[in-house]
């Protein structure tokens, strides 16, 4: 490749060095992935230990919640032994962890059903709610960011900033109350309670109602499910949408000053084309990282929002489990949440590498 004035030996050297770098880059990527998997495993172990110890140390006894008043000492001892609560915390943990490694999370004390089945039965509801909230947040926040960038320096941008500031400073459960008041009471267009109208006959074979209703072309059911999900998802989405709007608009505005955007301007593209095609792919990376982190907070937020809207998901179940001191169930739910959190973070890191060609090639 003589055209740009390298000496032949220089060109060879350059080619060699570049190939070598690419190989090291891939190995680094693979190594990073291995390290991530290991740290993830350690994180989960840490979470398990903390939860296990904490729920056994704080006051409140599951056995006492189960037995009627006036139960004999012998009854209490029998039940305690039945659930293995007479052993030391360390012994209990070893037994529980051994089961977990074989896919056995124990039995729920209150419902006497396997924890894994209970948790997996509720997981789809929470996943659907969280993903719907995420989609809403991305659309609302993205639209606000693009609109604000398009009208930068005008009153429209100021209005978007004020709106985002308000959306961010009010927590999601308060937005939930506001939405219930507006769309459930004053102007009742959406359902405000439950996941689906109880009288409906559900032909579903999985608990992914929203997804399966689409697959089965049951749009009547789909509409009912969306109507139930809309308000809780929106309540979860509003603060995240505000974060996306603020950060993405900021990065977009900074990118709009860069040389390649200016060059694209001279090519005759419309302003919205310049923003979406030239600036957005570069400006989106910091937002993507933040959305990943914030999404885990959003999943945490489902606990309160599901309670508020009586939505039959994991969060609602978690609150019941804590109230009833259902130790195995609490452990199962917390571990599942931890798996989701770390999984989302891993996905964000991977997509970051995919979106940024400089990282992909090391």
């Amino acid at each position: 490749m003589p055209p740009h004035g390298y000496s032949p030996s220089g060109a060879v050297l350059n080619e060699w060095a570049r190939g070598d770098l690419a190989v090291t880059g891939q190995m680094q990527l693979f190594g990073r992935f291995l390290v991530r998997l290991m740290t993830t495993a350690i994180t989960l172990l840490g979470v398990a230990v903390i939860v296990f110890v904490v729920i056994r140390v704080v006051p409140g006894n599951p056995i006492a919640m189960m037995l009627p008043p006036g139960a004999t000492e012998a009854d209490i001892a029998t039940l305690t032994a039945l659930y293995g609560l007479d052993k030391s915390i360390f012994q209990q943990f070893v037994i529980w962890a051994g089961g977990v490694l074989q896919g056995d999370f124990g039995m729920s004390i209150t419902t006497r059903q396997p924890v894994l089945a209970l948790v997996m039965g509720r997981l789809p509801a929470t996943l659907e709610l969280s993903v719907m909230a995420l989609v809403m947040a991305v659309f609302l926040g993205g639209a606000a960011a693009l609109g604000g960038t398009l009208r930068r320096g005008t009153r429209t941008e100021g209005a978007i900033d004020v709106g985002a500031g308000m959306a961010l400073s009010v927590p999601d459960f308060l937005w939930g109350l506001v939405l219930i008041l507006i769309f459930g009471v004053l102007w009742p267009v959406f359902h405000i309670s439950g996941r689906v109208t109880p009288s409906l006959d559900l032909p579903f074979s999985s608990n992914f109602y929203l997804f399966e209703s689409l697959l089965r072309f049951r749009f009547d059911l789909w509409a009912d499910i969306v109507s139930h999900m809309f308000l809780p998802a929106l309540a979860l989405a509003i603060p995240l949408a505000a974060i996306i709007a603020q950060l993405l608009k900021q990065s977009l505005k900074e990118t709009m000053h860069l040389d390649y955007v200016t060059l694209a301007r001279t090519k005759g593209y419309s302003e919205i084309h310049v923003i979406t095609r030239e600036a957005l792919p570069n400006a989106i990376l910091p937002t993507l990282t933040l959305v990943g982190v914030q999404f885990t907070f959003l999943i945490g937020g489902t606990v309160i929002i599901e309670r508020l809207f009586s939505y039959e998901g994991l969060g609602n179940m978690a609150i019941d489990a804590v109230i009833n001191r259902d130790l195995p169930l609490i452990q199962g739910i917390v571990i599942l949440f931890a798996v989701i959190f770390t999984g989302v973070n891993l996905l964000v890191d991977l997509s970051y590498a995919l979106l940024n060609p400089r990282l992909r090639h090391g």
Partner: protein, 290 residues
Amino acid sequence: MSYLQIRHLSARLVGAKDRLLRDVSLTVERGQVHGLVGESGAGKSMIGKAVLGILPQSVEIVEGSIELDGVDLLQLSAAERRRRIGAHCALIPQDPLTALNPSRRIGPQITDRLVQILGWDRTRAETRAVQILGEVQIEDAARVLRSYPHELSGGMRQRILIASAFAAEPKLIVADEPTTALDVTVQKQILKLIAQMQARHGTALLFVTHDLGVVSKVCRSLSVLYGGMVVEDTAVRPFFAGPQHPYARALLAATPKYTDPLASLQPVPDAVIAQVRQEVKASDKGWFHV
């Protein structure tokens, strides 16, 4: 025949009193190279930006006209102006390291304009991209078109930017100090390449530079700027034979000589600066603050 005609162009920072461009008039003939020379802050880049419609939002044009092929760009709607510039003009930017979009492949960065503004079909645009890269002596065009900017050297990227500017056969190209950011060893080649491409395609070129040596090699005519004001506007030959304006004369004298590299540099004398500042002030006399 002139292609670009700038008449009495004045610009200022929004809300400010002082002008950044003072009554600038200049002409670029069809197929000719016109140099814009001046020190930093003289407003030479700003003229190029005004022509291409990429002035910062903080700068407003307060009077004058920019005629492209007889049509005053400043009278057009924003969308119409954008399309006209996109179809007939191009920019060779200053810094090849920042002027290519880092997250897009080279191919679409060249072909997008051909497809979306000129309405070519994609195959024709891609054939054109390979051909134009060949013209700037990039041989493995297919690989380059698939590459991301960070995989290519600075000199290579500047070649791509030059090719991209000529790809749509524009009538006018603004070259904004296209060699300033490059290695000295590459500068000369790039300069030669721009001159070759300009001659082959018969494109009018507005060449912004602070280097009078470059002007003497590439340009047919030139404008010397100081403080946003044109102090001398002439053909290249009489200029290098003997500039009329004292500032232009001092600027020429300040250019280092390759024949005598050890001679100490001659800065522009204070008296000349004072004089040209007076003229700039005087030009503001008839100027009414809007």
